[in-house]
Symmetry: C2
Subunit: 279 residues, 2 copies
């Protein structure tokens, strides 16, 4: 079956740019739908691109159909949308009941609602790693440093912890040090959790020995990796280094790193190991 163009529904950050570049390199026709206030249209270069407010869903669907788009990826971060961004155009009003239902169940429910909406409109929604597998963490070290036997044991323990939390629909990340669990992520997000540990260390309430302390990151069981894949980037590495941790253990194939080689160089500069570990 021949597929039509790939639409990239693009939020903020480097990931949408990289995905567009990789897909184009592979000869795929790409259309970028840049979300207003999140994606920077100029950063995408000469690709076919249109910008949309969230309230312009009707127009987006028309443009996707006009280009015979069959496949799409939703990627990049979204700031909390303003009411102005949400203000629906006339062509969008008919779709609102779908999203009103989806909004009621929290973030995960909303994401599932977005996927089911586009699938209901006949599109196939892919995860970024389906289109560009190299954007996910590979198995092994991304930079020069590798995890020691002790650090690997902490990572394995951390993955066990995250798996135990999975039935509770929580826990994408945790920090372990000194044979114990120091921090567990819930609603605050990974960066806030890392800063919390940095604050505990700075205030003298927690001591982390050099070479100890790892961040582990993995998706929850049943997490929809098409629209909700965990991710790390250079800022994560800077935060981890600032907290005095020694490195990061990632669930290989299931955490976005974007450009693994570039992130490996960031790891080397920060003196950290960043390592993908098979689930």
């Amino acid at each position: 079956m021949t597929r039509g163009p790939l639409a990239i529904i693009a939020g903020a950050g480097e990931f949408p740019l990289r995905l567009a570049a990789v897909a184009a390199q592979r000869g795929r026709t790409v259309f970028v739908a840049a979300l207003d206030g999140a994606a920077d249209p100029a950063a995408f270069g000469s690709v076919d691109l249109q910008s949309y407010r969230l309230g312009q869903l009707g127009r987006l669907l028309e443009d996707l159909r006009g280009r015979a788009v069959t496949d799409m990826v939703l990627i990049g971060s979204l700031p909390r949308p303003s009411f102005a961004a949400l203000r629906p155009e006339a062509s969008t009003l008919r779709y609102l009941p779908h999203f009103a239902r989806a909004f009621r169940g929290g973030d995960d429910h909303l994401l599932r609602g977005v996927v089911s909406f586009f699938e209901g409109q006949g599109f196939t929604v892919h995860g970024p790693a389906d289109i560009a597998p190299d954007m996910a963490a590979p198995i092994g070290a991304l930079g020069r440093k590798t995890a020691s036997t002790e650090q690997k044991a902490l990572i394995a323990r951390g993955f066990e912890l995250l798996a135990a939390l999975s039935p509770f629909d929580v826990g994408q990340a945790a920090i372990l040090a000194d044979h114990r669990v120091i921090a567990i992520e819930a609603a605050e997000g990974t960066d806030a959790m890392i800063r919390r540990v940095a604050d505990l260390v700075a205030s003298g309430r927690l001591r982390i020995a050099k070479g100890d302390g790892v961040l582990v990151k993995a998706p929850k069981d049943g997490q929809d990796l098409r629209v909700d894949m965990p991710a790390i980037g250079p800022q994560t590495l800077r935060n981890v280094a600032a907290a005095g941790l020694s490195g990061i253990g990632l669930c290989a194939g299931r955490v976005l790193v974007g450009d693994a080689a570039a992130l490996g160089r960031h790891a080397d500069q920060a003196g950290l190991f960043v390592e993908g570990v098979g689930a």
Copy 2:
């Protein structure tokens, strides 16, 4: 077997005062060893009391033996000790190797080391609830408000979460709201976890509906309730109210509340339910 006097090794806060009062009411001869910089000797009234720096362990043992003490409770909070407080007297030096070993394994290990030290010296170490069962959370509401069916379901879910975390030696408390887990306590402590949720709400990153949002608190499996019993107090209630939560679910019999009636009045003032739930 007749028992000698009960020694209360007293840190800061209301709990040591209450324990001393309850034990005396029950006709037990009480000796209070007030830890310098933590316990306030004047607050204990006319009871037999001596103050000790942490480095005066040898002198403490002599005084315990001089009074024919057989039983003891270690209770109250300890600020991070200064080097001056730790400076050992000559009569304490011989006990240092025991504590040097205990210090190496983290807080839990240290507490077990303290218990094993006093037991090795022939004393029986009790938990505060062994001496004064009323100081632990009873089953049922402490104040006028009781948990609704939905709130009870959140509490049950929270206890399941804490039980799942127990094998990882972490998780004395968590906050749930909107059918999901909002925060999990690790090294930061309960008050810091509650403040984190308050900050997420204040910054608009999290919305908690009125009547939603509960703090759950329970000991880990295998936690030594003699020296490491989870506790809440009026400040916990103020923090919970400030975070916009609706109440607190406690593992009945296994979380210290001190004066349950007084805490119930605090709950009423704060508009919260505080409820003990059977494990």
